[in-house]
């Protein structure tokens, strides 16, 4: 593979405020290979959401370059799928219509994508729910609809911004397993943002560790744990080694608000 899925070179982002400016990102550089699952972990305010918004084309950087699959990011593009922290479903659309939203927006023709949508809903375990409305689903089910929506137009890459942050711990673990299963089946590049260290280690091939003020990447950690990973893995010494190492980085940098 000649080109990387994501390539970021000395990217900076400044927000101007009334009393000067805030540096959300300072000279960030990294690359993500095609098919790789990369997690970014950091405390709130470390600029990780800003980074994702830049990659999604929703925000322009102040300096530096960002490329997706070899082309510079100049705005939102259609070969990526984005999942936000909230499911962001439209209450007036059924589950199926919510999943088909990107198809409607991009004018791709519903007929051709109907079976794709139903297959994807089956993949996330929502096959009987396609005629329901979002309010009839639990939080975890809603987020699965959001993931299905991000996958419907077969994007090369998924950008996920703390997608399970609003879920309870049990549902969250279950969703982690689901996401791993979907990723192993689809082999798409996933760029996953989280503030949970175990979640990052459990899911990712690589973990980028970010600290705030200014937002910087302080470590790039390869997670050499075998797939398919089960929840039991979290209790193993190897797993503990990774999480302890990352937590240590935050303590040294004073990244966590005590």
């Amino acid at each position: 593979m000649a080109t990387e899925a994501i390539s970021v070179r000395s990217l900076s982002k400044l927000y101007s405020t009334r009393d000067g400016g805030v540096t959300a990102l300072e000279r960030i550089s990294f690359a993500v290979e095609e098919g790789e699952f990369v997690a970014v972990v950091g405390p709130s305010g470390c600029g990780k959401s800003t980074l994702l918004k830049i990659l999604a084309g929703l925000l322009a950087p102040s300096a530096g370059d960002a490329y997706l699959r070899g082309t510079a990011i100049v705005g939102p593009r259609r070969d990526i799928g984005v999942v936000f922290q909230a499911p962001v479903l439209f209450p007036w659309r059924t589950v199926l219509d919510n999943v088909l939203l990107p198809i409607d927006v991009q004018g791709l023709g519903r007929d051709r994508y109907l079976t794709v949508a139903l297959d994807l809903l089956a993949l996330v375990g929502l096959r009987e729910f396609e005629r329901r409305y979002p309010w009839e689903l639990s939080g975890g089910m809603q987020q699965r609809v959001a993931i299905t929506r991000a996958l419907i137009h077969d994007p090369a890459m998924l950008l996920m911004d703390e997608p399970f942050g609003a879920l309870d711990a049990m549902t969250r673990e279950h969703m982690n397993l689901e996401l791993q299963r979907i990723w192993l089946g689809k082999k798409k590049t996933v760029f996953f943002i989280t503030h949970s260290i175990p979640e990052a280690v459990f899911l990712a091939d690589r973990v980028l560790v970010m600290t705030p003020r200014p937002g910087r990447i302080v470590d790039d950690l390869r997670i050499k744990l075998p797939r398919t990973r089960a929840l039991d893995l979290m209790t193993t010494p190897e797993f503990g080694e990774y999480t302890r190492h990352i937590r240590g980085l935050f303590n040294v940098k004073g990244g966590l608000d005590a």
Binding site: L58, P76, R78, V82, F90, W92, Q106, W135
Partner: protein, 263 residues
């Protein structure tokens, strides 16, 4: 079981209060031009309907109300959309709108009648003028209230502003628009009646005026009764549409739930 008991109780309560009213008027010999007994009101109602007098005037008032409601809401919807979507339009138009809104619109009725005559036109315009504002304001607020995250989602899909409007902002504004229609319906009725007070040849408002000159108080009561029933039916009509359109709205679901419990 409980439900039938409640119905029986409320019917009993209604009969008791009517009986009380009748009894008090007869006992203290209150003159009919101050407070007529319910029996006389019922008689006036019966006479008015059987002679064909009330249906004719009712038809005119309803026609004025509906036309005013449709014209006023349509205009409010269009102008509200324009103000919400265009900064220049907002900048130049909004000060006048605010100024005009703080004015009690019923005070314009005499002018409207002078300008547009005693016929249907002046009533429709007056009704439309009053019905217009709730729609304008609610449409504006509704279109601007789209959730930032939802807008971001649409943007991330590379949606155009036009698509964001049709797929997100407009459906999102519907609860506000429906609430505006709810108010506008009753406002249109008020506008029509007030314009009829000022000067008209037909309509229930004009009938109230002429009965007032003739000291026909039981007649006036009978028309007030008709008007409240009309207001109730119009309001129910809007609510039925609302329930259909807004089946997905959380506040609407709450309302349906409440009605199901019978609270």
């Amino acid at each position: 079981m409980r439900n039938t008991r409640n119905v029986v109780l409320s019917v009993l309560l209604f009969c008791a209060s009517i009986g009380f009213w009748e009894g008090v008027v007869r006992l203290f010999e209150i003159p009919a031009f101050i407070l007529p007994p319910p029996s006389q009101v019922a008689l006036a109602l019966w006479r008015g309907f059987s002679s064909g007098l009330y249906p004719e005037h009712l038809y005119h008032t309803l026609l004025e109300t509906m036309l005013g409601f449709i014209a006023g809401s349509a205009l409010g919807l269009v102008l509200g959309t324009a103000v919400a979507l265009s900064r220049p339009i907002e900048f130049f138009l909004y000060p006048y709108i605010v100024m005009f809104q703080s004015l009690p619109k019923v005070a314009l009725a005499p002018l409207i009648v002078v300008w547009f005559g005693l016929g249907l036109t002046s009533k429709v315009i007056n009704a439309a003028l009053i019905a217009f504002f709730p729609l304008l304001v609610n449409t504006m607020v509704g279109l601007r209230s789209a959730d930032e995250e939802r807008v971001n989602l649409m943007r991330s899909l590379a949606a155009s502003e036009r698509q964001i409007f049709w797929m997100l902002r407009l459906p999102n504004a519907l609860p506000f628009v429906m609430a505006g229609l709810d108010v506008a319906m009753i406002f249109a009725l008020i506008g029509a009646i007030v314009a009829e007070f000022v000067g008209a040849q037909k309509g229930l408002g004009m009938l109230i005026q002429s009965m007032n000159f003739n000291m026909d108080v039981s007649g006036q009561f009978s028309i007030l009764l008709i008007l409240s029933v009309v207001g109730l039916i119009l309001n129910r009509g809007v609510m039925m549409i609302r329930k259909r359109v807004l089946f997905w709205d959380p506040s609407e679901k709450e309302r349906i739930e409440r009605e199901r419990i019978g609270a």
